[in-house]
Symmetry: C2
Subunit: 192 residues, 2 copies
């Protein structure tokens, strides 16, 4: 039951902090959404910031699952990257371009407000970038990364550009940003 | 004096809404920062949302100034783009990577909260993208855009990727995202 209350709070946090953001979601909104007494929040989490870190962790665990698409397989590395981004774009379009990415949202809203959240976001972005870099390096070894490109720079650029595309899709409520991303990236960075 | 109060409120809005975001900045914070009576806020602005739109407008007026660097000149179009992004990156680094871009911040925080702000952001992003597209088209005409690339897709991609780079620089407190952006973009999209 205790575990259940904690789980409910985290699930409500995933919904509210992702959709409305950190500052627009009060503890009372979260406990009401979870259907638990307001006092229970501070039994499980010392501060709203500590809660946000746990919610972010849970969100990131979800985002890590499709990273397995990037790992070694019979599919060519640039095709794995293309598939990885295409599946994310489809999921975002199914969600009607709402909410955006919690990592980008927290980065925009909290980087200057919460050093703890910012530091954790930096570690998450680095881990995400490394997963992409692994695939870019394989493309380089396979001779399908355009010559002269540095895999570290390409991986950082792709990860950041993808966050930019998600942000634009959230503003425009449109897939155009994803189309532009894949049309340009796969026309110029890879030559399979 | 009336104009002065309104100006002070907008200047405080530029500082607070950009730095802390919309939801973390109360009307009282804004009037206190401006050194004006709290009641005066609603004399000039019907809602905090209407105020945010005016602040956004003022911010965008500032961002439009360096767009002139992109317009026809003796400098080659891809060099104009490179210079335009490099100057923005330098300004952000001088500001210690704080605040990020108000357009991106509002996009992340308010796209699902305020239809008015979201619609205005979409128009601003479209105008910004068109300014970049003009320069990309000139590069195409000059034969320095990599063949096969669509200027509309490239311009959208550059604008969105730039917002993504600003967001990453805000999370990492580092210029690396700008270096990755320019290293990759100017190695692959243009061949001057």
């Amino acid at each position: 039951m205790a575990q259940d209350t904690r789980e409910r709070l985290i699930n409500s946090g995933l919904r509210l902090l992702h959709g409305r953001g950190f500052n627009a979601s009060g503890v009372q909104d979260i406990t009401a959404d979870a259907g638990v007494p307001k006092g229970s929040f501070y039994h499980y989490f010392s501060t709203k910031e500590a809660f946000a870190l746990e919610v972010l962790e849970r969100y990131w665990q979800g985002l890590r699952i499709p990273l397995k698409l990037l790992r070694g397989s019979s599919v060519a590395p640039d095709e794995r990257l293309r598939k990885y981004f295409a599946l994310q774009a489809e999921a975002i379009a199914r969600g009607k371009f709402e909410k955006g990415c919690m990592i980008g949202n927290f980065g925009a809203e909290l980087s200057d407000q919460s050093p703890m959240v910012r530091e954790r976001l930096a570690v998450i972005m680095a881990e995400w970038t490394r997963a992409i870099e692994g695939c870019v390096r394989e493309a380089k070894d396979a001779g399908t990364l355009r010559s002269g490109l540095d895999p570290t720079a390409v991986a950082g650029f792709l990860t950041n550009s993808w966050e930019g595309a998600i942000l634009r899709s959230k503003i425009d409520k449109s897939s155009a940003a994803f189309d532009h991303f894949s049309n340009v990236v796969f026309a110029v960075a890879f030559n399979s």
